[in-house]
């Protein structure tokens, strides 16, 4: 080919490639304003007891919004609010909502919403939303976010985990609490803490990590301590009766994690790995004392997720609970 032809080739390629990308963008733009099939809904105006709240996924105009289904008919009609949340927890009085505001300067915030979904407080969140939990009486809530390092490439991550009181005071970073493993204090600089679950308004459980360790820690807000209970436990979640902890456990390697859902019973120091073959990167939620809920990513459709239910005793495999859903939060009757 002579140079003129080669330039023509480059010009035509540019038009086709960039035009194609623009066309894809236009279709995506249109789709982002449509309502996908199977997610027809009514507006959600408040929190009702006996429902599961969740983040709607699956694309379209409702993607990312807080939605609700009835506990006894999770596959039935859903209510969808106008409030976007990346991650949420809820009780009958309100919602803790972690939210990212995308832009040239992306910001993250923690919103506390009342029972009619109106914000009562807003505070900046240190990084990308990851986990949030309310305490049983709703007096406390915890947030975990990923703090991206300091490069566009974003390769240097740590977590920021803080416990807040409703009165606005907070615990400071949990990684500044005294971490005690086998009776000795751990002072390593690489300690990260994530995935808080509350026992009451003083005691909680979480994951503390240093090096290759992922300890389940029992935390005390008054003593400001974290005591390691066992290794290899991430994102614990305390059952409503307080007898068991569900968590994710890495059955892969450090650089290729494959997370199983497991349940730990402290009373007889027993761990049951549940029969869920997929890798589950979530903090499980207890539907009741026998059943767990968690989000599972769809292999064939990036960004789409479903919420599954599984028996906590390992006696049965997972079942689809809510389609196109993420971050379930049970609002008990």
């Amino acid at each position: 080919m002579d140079l003129t032809r080669r330039r023509l080739f480059v010009g035509i390629s540019a038009v086709l490639l960039l035009g194609g990308a623009a066309a894809y963008g236009a279709v995506a733009f249109a789709a982002s304003r449509s309502i996908p099939e199977g997610t027809a809904s009514t507006p959600m105006t408040g929190i009702r007891p006996g429902t599961v709240l969740f983040r709607q996924t699956g694309g379209g105009a409702l993607h990312g919004l807080v939605a609700a289904v009835d506990l006894d008919d999770p596959g039935g009609p859903r209510e969808v609010s106008a409030r976007p949340c990346d991650r949420l927890d809820a009780n009958v009085d309100g919602i803790v909502c972690l939210h990212s505001d995308l832009g040239l300067t992306t910001t993250f915030e923690t919103l506390v919403l009342d029972e009619t979904l109106h914000p009562t407080s807003s505070r900046p969140l240190a990084g990308i939303p990851s986990r949030t939990r309310l305490s049983p009486d709703g007096e406390l809530f915890a947030t975990t976010s990923f703090v991206a390092g300091h490069a566009y490439a974003g390769t240097d991550f740590s977590t920021s985990t803080v416990i807040f009181r409703r009165d606005g005071t907070d615990s400071g970073e949990l990684e500044d609490f005294t971490l005690i493993v086998d009776g000795a204090e751990v002072t390593a600089a690489d300690v990260n803490v994530w995935g808080v679950t509350f026992a009451d308004d003083r005691r909680f459980f979480a994951t503390a990590a240093s090096g290759e360790h992922r300890w389940l820690v029992a935390g005390d807000l008054d003593e400001r301590t974290l005591r390691a209970v066992r290794d290899g436990v991430e994102c614990p979640s305390l059952s409503p009766d307080g007898s068991r902890l569900a968590f994710k456990q890495n059955r892969g390697s450090a650089d290729r994690p494959d997370w199983a859902i497991a349940v730990y019973e402290p009373a007889d120091d027993r761990v049951t790995v549940l029969p869920e073959p997929a890798s589950i990167d979530d903090q499980p939620e207890w539907l009741d004392d026998e059943t767990l809920l968690y989000g599972r990513a769809r292999d064939d459709s990036p960004g789409d997720t479903d919420v599954y239910a599984i028996r906590a005793d390992g006696s049965a495999g997972p079942e689809l609970f809510i389609s196109h859903a993420w971050s379930p939060a049970v609002v008990r009757p």
Partner: protein
């Protein structure tokens, strides 16, 4: 500037030695390839952490560890690619392989959902980057008037940086228009990456530096590792390595500015933008300065600029003074990049026989990458131990000691062609 896209015929600049006043169209084409590829990679990089967490629901603490591991892989690949380019006397196909691999990785991003798959895609992209850099810089050297290497590399790095600055802007404009439109970002990113490969394939000539030299009289010699043992290249590698060991990484400098100014974290990206603007504005003038006063002097001058940036970042000033010092710091950091990145490649390419050019460039870039990686890790510990100001003072002192050593190492020797700009 005398940038032009006009065709200059088949023997396009190169080894004729005639001053033309124009930058070779091959260099411009390579710059456009880098611009398109950087738009692609920076658009992806800007949204990847958000995509992993908010769209795929993955936690990403392990990501940093993985990145560290593959830095090593990237270095090994870089050396191998330099060797392959020299050995076969054809840098272009090797560069094409590298750009192509990164483009294919973008396709993977559209379908990958699991942590392992995403990791594989990111690693593929990094390996592609490792492969393409040295052969591409060898092509720039092969397509440039030897007396104007500085300007050629300056023009290339300017275009490259324009792409790096544009990519994140495009990504976030897409996300503003299409909420959760990560796939659209990846599709746009793929289009730019493929277009970069097309420009490289169609508009960059498949040069054979060794065979071309043979036609001008000097008999060709095959690549031998011994060619890399040229004393002035060794001294350049030692100097660059020593300097790399006392270079602390931009992230720490930005954190120091953040500590002092106390701005909201959301403005953090503006520091990158400031540095990039300074870099792209200065790349060409500094390259031309190198052509006039010599690349070695400019390279050492760049290190002095970095030293001044450390000092400005550590100065205990407040208020307007702090803002001015921080702006000066970003300007100096841009000056540092303009005076070292392309200049180092130009020096390395000039310090080895052309049969070993890609390998020489790869060696220099690997030394810098490896020593900076080690320095960032070490400096991180120091930062934790003594705090930001004291750590900066330590780094500045170390740099102040190393600069004169590097200057002596890089002093031109009469036996090696004396003091002309790029010998």
């Amino acid at each position: 500037m005398y940038i032009t896209l006009s065709d200059r015929g088949a023997d396009d600049g190169a080894t004729t030695g005639a001053r033309t006043g124009r930058v070779s169209s091959t260099v411009i084409a390579l710059g456009v390839v880098s611009l398109l590829t950087d738009i692609s990679s920076e658009a992806t990089a800007a949204v990847l952490p958000l995509y992993l967490t908010t769209a795929l629901g993955l936690s990403i603490v392990a990501y940093g560890v993985i990145d560290g591991l593959y830095q090593g892989v990237s270095s090994a690949v870089r050396i191998a690619a330099g060797w392959a380019a020299d050995r076969g006397d054809r840098p272009k196909p090797v560069a094409l392989l590298g750009y192509g691999l990164s483009a294919i990785a973008r396709v993977g991003l559209l379908f990958a959902t699991g942590f392992g798959a995403i990791t594989a895609v990111v690693v593929g992209d990094r390996i592609g980057k490792g492969i393409r850099t040295a052969p591409r810089d060898a092509l720039i050297a092969a397509s440039s008037d030897p007396a104007e290497l500085g300007r050629s590399f300056g023009v290339h790095r300017m275009l490259d940086t324009v792409g790096a600055a544009t990519g994140p802007v495009i990504a976030f404009v897409v996300l503003l228009l299409v909420p959760d439109g990560y796939r659209t970002v990846f599709v746009v990113s793929l289009a730019f990456a493929v277009l970069g490969v097309v420009v490289l394939g169609a508009l960059v000539p498949d040069r054979r530096p060794r065979a071309e030299q043979a036609t001008t009289g000097t008999p060709p010699s095959p690549f031998r590792w011994r060619l890399l043992a040229a004393p002035r290249l060794i001294r350049l590698l030692v100097a660059a390595g020593l300097l790399g060991l006392v270079t602390i990484g931009d992230g720490f400098l930005y954190l120091a500015l953040h500590d002092r100014l106390g701005f909201a974290p959301m403005w953090f990206p503006l520091l990158f933008v400031g540095t990039n603007l300074a870099y792209l504005a200065l790349a060409v003038p500094i390259g031309r300065l190198g052509d006039r006063i010599g690349g070695r002097r400019v390279f050492i001058g760049g290190q002095i600029a970095l030293l001044c940036a450390y000092v400005l970042a550590a100065l205990p000033v407040a208020g307007v003074g702090a803002v001015a010092a921080s702006a000066g710091c970003l300007l100096l950091l841009g000056l540092f990049y303009a005076s070292t990145d392309g200049i180092l490649a130009a020096l390395a390419s000039a310090f080895v026989p052309l049969e070993a050019r890609a390998s020489g460039i790869a060696a220099a870039q690997t030394v810098v990458a490896a020593t900076r990686f080690a320095a960032a890790a070490g400096f991180g510990l120091l930062w934790f131990a003594v705090g930001s100001s004291a750590a900066l003072v330590v780094a500045a002192s170390a740099l102040a000691v190393v600069i004169p050593v590097a200057a002596i190492l890089l002093r031109p020797r009469a036996s090696e062609g004396g003091a002309s700009a790029w010998t």
